[in-house]
């Protein structure tokens, strides 16, 4: 058996109380299951109890709350890229969602799962870094809200205590004049883990970039921001020369490793390519 017991939570309170009742035991949450079931099957992880949170209504769907967008942790990538709220306000997240696995994976896998799995090559997380998103974590007594960059503490290490779960993701709706973009380089177009990816969110006022957030995936133990690239962009009008310089600057922040998908030097080269592509698309969208 991959696990002994399967419990289905219908509400957030139920999910939290199921977590609490099995506290101390080997209990894991399952949303899409695309990472977890594989890891259980290959005996990389073990679990006695699975708590299914895929039907918890408070953790599903995308909505606007004042000047914020809220994405439930159990929302699938197919739901994200079909959402007009996301397409209108954070198109980079729609782009990234389409690049994750293939159709079947997008129908199953969830944003909360991607955050919890905390892979440094995750595709959706750089977008959240670029959007300055917060992770909302729930426990039976309280909720806490943590910036996504602080939530990811290290290589596959997250700020989640026993009994807690990732409830939702929140970020401020980017103001008028903002452009966002995601660019991924992988060995195949689908079903491929990123060699490098870049997410960009920037705002243009009077023809000059006033705000810039550049996030990189698969080049460090966690997703990172590139302060070097951001510094190059801010205060400048968009130009091909600027896109190239931003890409070059981002290479200074990358700390890639050699692995089966690419060497460190290839990755450092790709950082410039991915960042300049993403910055160009973001600028085009900002002025439109």
């Amino acid at each position: 058996m991959l696990y002994q017991k399967y419990e289905v939570a219908q509400t957030l309170a139920e999910a939290l109380s199921l977590l609490e009742s099995h506290n101390g035991g080997n209990v894991r949450l399952v949303a899409g299951g695309t990472d977890l079931i594989l890891q259980l099957h290959e005996r990389i992880l073990s679990a006695e109890v699975l708590v299914d949170i895929s039907r918890v209504s408070e953790m599903r769907g995308i909505r606007q709350d004042g000047d914020e967008l809220v994405i439930g942790a159990a929302t699938t990538y197919a739901e994200i890229y079909h959402s007009s709220l996301i397409q209108n306000h954070a198109p980079l997240l729609a782009e990234a969602s389409k690049k994750i696995g293939a159709v079947q994976i997008q129908n199953m896998a969830t944003l909360g799962g991607n955050i919890g799995n905390a892979s440094p090559a995750a595709d959706a997380i750089p977008c959240l870094y670029a959007l300055d998103a917060d992770v909302v974590v729930a426990s039976p007594n309280a909720e806490r809200r943590i910036p996504v960059a602080e939530f990811h503490q290290g290589y596959r290490k997250i700020d989640l205590k026993p009994g807690e779960l990732i409830k939702e993701i929140r970020f401020a709706i980017p103001p008028e004049g903002t452009g966002t973009a995601f660019y991924k380089y992988a060995l195949r177009k689908s079903q491929a883990i990123s060699v490098v990816d870049a997410a960009v969110c920037l705002k243009i006022e009077d023809g000059v970039i006033r705000h810039a957030a550049v996030a990189l995936g698969a080049v460090a133990p966690t997703i990172i921001r590139s302060p070097e690239a951001e510094a190059v962009l801010i205060g400048e009008p968009p130009s091909e020369d600027l896109f190239a310089r931003a890409g070059e600057a981002a290479r200074k922040d990358a700390r890639p490793i050699d692995d089966i998908r690419g060497s460190a030097s290839f990755r450092r080269y790709l950082v410039a390519v991915c960042v300049s592509h993403a910055v160009r698309s973001a600028c085009e969208r900002a002025v439109r």
Binding site: M1, Y185, Y269, L270, V273
Partner: protein
């Protein structure tokens, strides 16, 4: 007309109304024929070996060697045998006949006895009531290994004092091809190009991993229904290992989910037959993708050094090459794949003088065997590289250079065989030339690859 209607009409013609059949009905040339196997395949009703089941069926699972080269000092199966639901845990000692098989020469052990030669070599095999019990049992088999120095490429394998994969030495086979006078050929050359080429291994990755299903029928015949390219050779080898007369073994080829050469070899057949024979129960053994990649054959990695000469007129004068093919721990078809590579090292071009040597070498890598292309693919990497470089040095168009040198009827191949037919390279290149002229295309090597 949709396919189902077509198929139904065919069905009716052949099965339903024999009096209307004419001889031409059996002539498929020029007609759209619905393959017999396609309707079961599109509807999911085709039965592959891994789809078979019977009441009382057990699930087989194999323990694969974790060491590339090691002596087996002992195997403790007690904890595995004690797992509830486990019906058999078999090692080399339990084999009733000879512990040997091999598609070309019998050099491979069914279950490793005393020594393992690659990571992924079967060491023990388990049958249990379900997949989880089988998996648990395999994880509880304790093998005590004494690691030996190992060799991981054919060039190291030929060095004096290299670890011996087999006692008889690491050279499995040496092929020599000689034609004309190689010294004279290079004397006549005004341009000579010499290079080293290396090609990597490759997995066939058929979507269906290896699968076999075995049971003893009411007449005492051992049946093996399997995913194989060669049922009769499997049958002969099963009989030897199980010490059974051939008429007690029946092998049937199920719908096969892709082979591409690797299912030419024995895969699960002997192991699943052994489990069924020992337990008296039907047994199904299906490899996971991971197991299949470890334990089955792959495409040969090769190391090639080749020298090719051409004269000022742009005619090839000579080619000389040496090939080191990594055949892994056992021969499989490593004799023939690497032999063929020696013949085809020059490609579809005419060389008046030709000399090649190929060595198929044992290493402690996974087994390399037949894979469509059969050595010719690896050769193509080097002969096309050589031809391009020669054309460049001669200042000739690469297509022109090829047309001038390609094999045509009346010219001889590396073996001296004079081509009389089935030699379409010239016509193909001429069509290509015509197409390029019509479309204003020319050969240009891209200087920069954009990411």
């Amino acid at each position: 007309m949709t396919g189902d209607k077509q198929a139904l009409q065919k069905e009716k013609l052949i099965v339903g109304t024999p009096q209307t059949l004419r001889e031409t009905d059996f002539d498929p040339v020029g007609k759209s024929v619905v393959r017999k196997d396609v309707i079961p395949k599109v509807t999911g009703k085709a039965i592959y070996a891994g789809d078979l089941h019977m009441p009382g069926m057990l699930i087989g699972k194999v323990l694969l060697s974790a060491q590339p080269h090691a002596l087996i000092k002992g195997i403790d199966i007690s904890a595995a045998a004690a797992v509830p639901g486990v019906k058999a845990v078999l090692t080399a000692q339990d084999i009733p006949g000879e512990n040997v098989f091999g598609i070309a020469i019998p050099d491979q052990q069914v279950l490793a006895d005393r020594k393992v030669r690659f990571i992924g070599e079967p060491v023990a095999v388990v049958a249990a009531e379900d997949a989880f019990a089988a998996e648990q049992a395999v994880s509880k088999i304790r093998v005590e290994y004494e690691p030996l120095p190992a060799v991981f490429n054919p060039i190291d394998g030929l060095k004096p004092g290299a670890p011996l994969v087999h006692e008889k030495g690491n050279i499995l086979y040496h092929t020599k091809v000689r034609k004309g006078n190689i010294e004279k050929g290079f004397d006549e050359a005004s341009v000579i190009v010499e290079n080293i080429y290396r090609t990597a291994g490759q997995d066939h990755a058929p979507i269906e991993p290896e699968a076999g299903f075995s049971w003893i029928d009411a007449e005492g015949v051992l049946n093996v229904f399997t995913s194989t390219q060669y049922a009769f050779r499997d049958r002969r080898q099963i009989a030897v290992v199980l010490n059974l007369p051939m008429n007690r073994v029946r092998v049937a080829n199920m719908t096969m989910g892709g082979g591409f050469g690797r299912k030419d070899d024995v895969t699960t057949e002997i192991l699943v037959a052994l489990l069924a024979w020992k337990t008296g129960r039907p047994v199904r053994l299906v490899y996971t993708r991971h197991e299949a990649m470890l334990t089955q054959t792959h495409r040969h990695p090769t190391y090639v050094r080749v020298r090719t000469g051409a004269n000022k007129e742009g005619r090839l004068t000579a080619m000389e090459g040496v090939i080191y093919g990594d055949t892994g721990a056992y021969s499989s078809l490593g004799i023939f794949v690497i032999k063929k590579m020696a013949l085809h090292l020059g490609g579809p071009y005419y060389y008046p003088n030709y000399k090649s040597d190929s060595f198929s070498v044992y290493t402690n890598n996974p087994i390399y065997g037949p894979f469509r292309g059969f050595g010719v693919l690896q050769a193509a990497v080097s002969h096309e590289g050589q031809i391009d470089e020669l054309a460049e040095k001669l200042g000739m168009d690469p297509l022109e250079f090829r047309l001038k040198n390609c094999l045509r009827p009346g010219l001889s191949f590396s073996t001296g065989q004079v081509m009389t037919e089935a030699c379409g390279i010239g016509a193909t290149l001429e069509r290509l030339q015509q197409y390029m002229v019509e479309n204003g295309l020319s050969f240009e090597r891209p200087q920069e690859v954009s990411a």
